[in-house]
Each structure stands twice: as structure tokens, then as C-alpha cells.
């Protein structure tokens, strides 16, 4: 395993060309593992180093999760095959109750071929923006 270089970093950059809801100007992010083989990653803005959030693959906690992308979203992402899609969701943490939760209503979908991503708002679904997770099982 070679040392990470700028080239490697660039390879891992995901371009959210429309920004994120709440952060419309932040387009370039990298995904960093919190620990090796762990459940959680950090979605780190390159444009503003002070902005990051924890994310994870939703199916680790919600195996039945089935987000359905609209034609518009698939078109925007240029997704030709479902296997090209990488899906992860924002994690929030309430320090008082020590409760972590996943935002299942607004998953990030990244086209692994193009490295372009969008945060998809699942209008019409019943998914919660704060689905609690049990950290012990994670």
C-alpha cells in the first residue's frame, strides 16, 4: 500500500454539482473511513474544511431499506445500472441522549463510474430523517 498522494485523493473526490440542501455551495467531498472496516465514514468537504458529517451505509442497520430514485434523479446521476450506485446516509448524534440516528429520507447516491453524487430527497416515501440506531449492534 503506497502513501496517499494528491492523485489518490483526487480519485476519491465525489462531485455534488448541486451542493447539498443547507450547503448549496459545497460541491467537492471525500469519504474517509472512521476506522478500518468500521461501519461509519466521514463525508468531508474539500471546499470548506470545517464542514463534515458522519455517514454510513443504511443497510447495516435497516436491511429492508429500499430507496426508489425518480427518473429525474437517475437522469441527473447518469445511472445506467443500479450496481453503479453507491448509497450512504447522514448520521446525526444527540450528545444529551447519546442517540445516533440515520437520515433515511435524504440518502446520498454516488455514481461510482462518474464520481458524481446527489443527495436525493425521497418525496412521497415514509422514511424518517431521524431513524434511531442502536450503536451496540453497529
Amino acid at each position: 500500500m503506497s502513501q496517499p498522494t494528491d492523485d489518490n485523493l483526487e480519485e476519491k473526490v465525489v462531485h455534488f454539482t448541486d451542493g447539498l440542501p443547507g450547503f448549496p455551495d459545497l460541491e467537492r467531498f471525500v469519504v474517509i473511513e472512521l476506522r478500518e472496516n468500521g461501519a461509519f465514514q466521514q463525508l468531508q468537504s474539500i471546499d470548506d474544511p470545517s464542514i463534515s458529517m458522519i455517514v454510513c451505509v443504511p443497510w447495516l442497520f435497516f436491511p429492508d431499506y429500499a430507496p426508489i430514485l425518480s427518473d429525474a434523479e437517475e437522469h441527473e446521476l447518469e445511472l445506467e445500472s443500479a450496481s453503479d450506485a453507491i448509497v450512504f446516509v447522514p448520521v446525526s448524534f444527540d450528545a444529551e441522549t447519546r442517540q445516533a440516528s440515520l437520515n433515511l429520507l435524504g440518502p446520498f447516491v454516488v455514481n461510482s463510474r462518474t464520481r458524481r453524487g446527489r443527495q436525493v430527497v425521497l418525496t412521497g416515501s415514509e422514511y424518517s430523517v431521524r431513524a434511531p440506531i442502536d450503536l451496540v449492534s453497529g
Binding site: F40, A72, P90, S92, V121, T123, L135
Partner: protein
């Protein structure tokens, strides 16, 4: 803001290819139909707002979440230890 008065069954055309139709008005609610090209995103404002607020919460709690989630081995007990 442009303000128009419409009756049920009447429409508004936005640009070349977006048509918004008032379908029904009943009990303080309006049912609206939207015909738009598939690349145009249409959301209920409050659903988009929920996701926006949750992004802000996720960013605000990022450091605490990182501490709690990266340092906690799966086998560590959830309950605080008794002194």
C-alpha cells in the same frame, strides 16, 4: 411574487414545458397537478426543508458523532459502568 387567481381545472404554464393545474379545492386544501419534464425536480417544500435541517444537524453533531462512533468497540457495554 407573481400572484394569479385560478379555478379548479384551470392551469398555469411555466416556461415551455411545465404545466401546473389546480385539480380540486376542498376543506382548506388545494390539490395540484404538475406536468414537468423528468429532469425537473419537484418536492414538497417541507420535505426538502426536513432534509436541509437534518444536514445542518448532522454537520453540527459531526465531532460528537465521530468521538462516539469511532471510539466505541462493538463489545463495549451501552450502559454507563457503575462506580
Amino acid at each position: 411574487m407573481l400572484v394569479l387567481t385560478r379555478r379548479p381545472g384551470e392551469s398555469i404554464v411555466v416556461g415551455q414545458d411545465i404545466i401546473i393545474t389546480v385539480i380540486e379545492i376542498k376543506g382548506g386544501q388545494v390539490r395540484i397537478g404538475i406536468d414537468a419534464p423528468r429532469e425537473v425536480q419537484v418536492h414538497r417544500e417541507e420535505v426538502y426543508e426536513q432534509v436541509r435541517q437534518e444536514n445542518i444537524a448532522a454537520v453540527a453533531s459531526s465531532q460528537k458523532a465521530k468521538e462516539a462512533l469511532s471510539g466505541t468497540p462493538a463489545e463495549e457495554p451501552k450502559e454507563p459502568r457503575q462506580p
